[in-house]
């Protein structure tokens, strides 16, 4: 890691015009990252083969982005983020379906519910280090899965949760038809835009610098006087909040919560998307979600065993392109 940093600082000293142009481009990408992302998302439904795919890119893009805050920026490889995604989805569904809470209240409750769960799981798992952390987050998320399976009167158990269709969104005197795929996309895009802004704000703050300091060298961060445990826990909870938001988006979109959202395969998919796109880069998670969902879309036309292809591609990425699609693009073209 330390060697990496010195290597990176050398090109900054070189002042050939090409290098300067590249740094300008990198700076522009960073300064305008939220607006650029929103602009790209605005176009997405008209570029992709189906509106449903576009909505999935929104949901899983937000999910991977929330995860990336912890994995890419704080350097903690969690294998249990399905729990927060699922908690957001279930709480939203239960709030609407069983308590008649309006959609905005249900979204808020979903995010808070996921955040509280992240606080509990985070508090336990950050006590462990390194490789243990991945195993403990995975195990605790499986605990959530089994609890949801048993508590079938609340969650519908294996059949999943149904019966909370949101047909229209009333906001500021307007009534938006939520069953129309295009308006649904743009409503959910507002949530995604908020999440993008929130993450960008976190990364620009001193807290953002602190989590990256912990990722680069935990001992050094501790010596510099950072409260490493507290910072990790806050990062864990923030990450959980964003993943829970993705869960509420998914619940509103599908009007159904399958039990599988909590399964460890979902956690694994989040990891794959983030790594495919490029961990520790702002655009990476969305690029990864898009790439993963497109692969699923295309390969599942050929074979029901599309996962073998996606899995192999993932292995190749770990071996040869650990920076992911966007990270490699940044390294090759921009820097």
């Amino acid at each position: 890691m330390e060697r990496d940093m010195t290597v990176k600082s050398i090109p900054l000293a070189a002042t050939s015009s090409g290098a300067r142009k590249a740094t300008d481009l990198a700076a522009a990408l960073t300064n305008w990252r939220v607006l650029l992302s929103i602009a790209a998302l605005c176009l997405l439904p008209w570029v992709l083969p189906s509106k449903a795919l576009a909505v999935n890119v929104l949901v899983y893009g937000v999910l991977a982005m929330g995860y990336n805050l912890l994995f890419g920026y704080t350097g903690l490889l969690s294998f249990g983020h399905a729990a927060f995604f699922g908690a957001g989805a279930y709480v939203t569904g239960i709030a609407i379906g069983q308590f008649g809470v309006p959609w905005y209240g249900a979204v808020l409750l979903g995010v808070i519910g996921g955040g509280l769960l992240a606080l509990a799981i985070g508090a336990l798992s950050i006590r462990t280090r390194g490789i243990y952390f991945s195993m403990v987050t995975l195990a605790l998320a499986q605990l959530v899965y089994h609890v949801a399976l048993q508590a079938s009167s609340w969650t519908g158990g294996e059949n999943g949760l149904r019966g909370f269709t949101v047909a229209k969104i009333d906001i500021a005197g307007f009534s938006i038809n939520f069953l129309d795929p295009v308006s649904k996309y743009y409503v959910l895009m507002v949530f995604a835009a908020l999440a993008l802004w929130f993450v960008s704000r976190i990364l620009n703050s001193p807290f953002g610098a602190a989590i990256e300091a912990i990722r680069e060298n935990e001992t050094r961060a501790r010596t510099c006087g950072y409260d490493v445990e507290r910072t990790k826990l806050i990062s864990f909870v923030l990450s959980g909040l964003i993943c829970a938001l993705a869960g509420t988006m998914s619940a509103l979109h599908l009007a159904f919560v399958p039990l599988d959202v909590l399964h460890y395969q979902t956690s694994g998919m989040i990891v794959m998307m983030t790594l495919l796109g490029g961990a520790s880069s702002f655009f990476g998670p969305f690029v990864g979600a898009l790439a993963f969902l497109l692969m699923e879309d295309v390969f599942s036309l050929w074979t029901s065993h599309w996962q073998i292809i996606v899995g192999s591609i993932f292995i190749l990425f770990v071996l040869f392109l650990p920076k992911g699609i966007w990270g490699t693009f940044l390294a090759r073209v921009v820097r």
Binding site: I131, L143, G268, G311, I315
Partner: protein, 288 residues
């Protein structure tokens, strides 16, 4: 609730725990030596069960399956280490974990393509069917056999690690691989072999578990998580920890099943959470 039923259930727990011990031990040996958490361990357990079934149906004898399948899958594990894991040494500790996770995805799908999605029954060998009277009640012979096999394998493993020159190299190599290189030991060969043995143990667990449940492509995912829980409770890298924690978890699951069947899996996680609160490095783990 009478004492006999509780004792029989205790035996069931030990048999269940024995499978966990052998699987978690493979995970722990690989980690202790190579510093790699093998996420494909559950998938290799499942492939072990399929390989056992395949060899048994080919030769018509369960015993050949029990003997050959772990060796076959162990060699396959060595190929995995050589081809996929070795290029990642010296990189972040997360990379082998991510790679083996991707591998488990591929292995499960590959088994689905070859053997189909549905479970296949694994017949108990005729010599081991039926029940034995233990004095306190009747107990399936096959489960007793599982306990005995695991005990023998543990003894052999202990002898190999503590009493042979190779065991000495393995133990020294897990302390300080650089010094071993300086001393002229080809540590990569040792790592290759240790990875193979660890994977072979997972496959052995799979073959042994076969007749106790149906063999299906999904059977590895629960086992992987159970093995994780066991190693977290026992302390990753500690062999004694794996044995004690494996038996503890096995007995805890089967005792809970006696009183509240649906809580069986949940109690295992509660046990892990408790250990994490009191002793984050695990019962037998060394301080970080």
């Amino acid at each position: 609730m009478d004492a006999e039923l509780i004792l029989i259930q205790l035996f069931s727990g030990v048999a269940l725990g024995a499978i966990l011990v052998i699987t978690a031990l493979g995970l722990s040996i690989i980690f202790g030596m190579l510093g790699v958490v093998n996420f494909a361990h559950g998938a290799l357990f499942m492939i072990g069960a399929y390989a056992g079934l395949w060899v048994a149906s080919l030769t018509g004898s369960f015993w050949w399956g029990l003997l050959v399948a772990p060796i076959m899958i162990g060699v396959f594990g060595m190929a995995i280490e050589w081809l996929l894991v070795r290029p990642l040494y010296g990189r972040s500790v997360d990379d082998p974990l991510l790679l083996t996770f991707g591998l488990s995805y591929v292995l499960v799908e590959a088994v689905r393509i070859v053997f189909g999605n549905d479970g296949i029954p694994f017949p108990t060998p005729s010599q081991l069917t039926g029940v034995a009277n233990l004095g306190v009640g009747y107990f399936p012979i096959y489960r007793l056999f599982v306990i005995v096999v695991v005990a023998v394998v543990l003894l052999l493993l202990w002898l190999a690690l503590e009493k042979t020159k190779f065991g000495l190299i393995v133990r020294a190599g897990s302390r300080d691989p650089t010094i071993m290189r300086v001393l002229g030991v080809n540590i990569s060969k040792v790592w290759l072999l240790v990875f193979g043995v660890g994977v072979g143990l997972a496959a052995l667990g799979g073959v042994l578990a076969g007749p106790m449940r149906t063999v299906n492509p999904e059977m590895g995912s629960l086992v992987l998580i159970e093995a994780f829980v066991v190693t977290v409770i026992g302390g990753l890298g500690s062999l004694l920890g794996s044995v004690v924690a494996g038996l503890l978890v096995g007995v805890a699951i089967s005792m809970t099943a006696l009183f509240a069947p649906e809580m069986g899996t949940i109690v295992m996680f509660a046990l892990m959470a408790l250990v994490l609160l009191v002793r984050p490095r695990g019962l037998f783990g060394k301080a970080a």
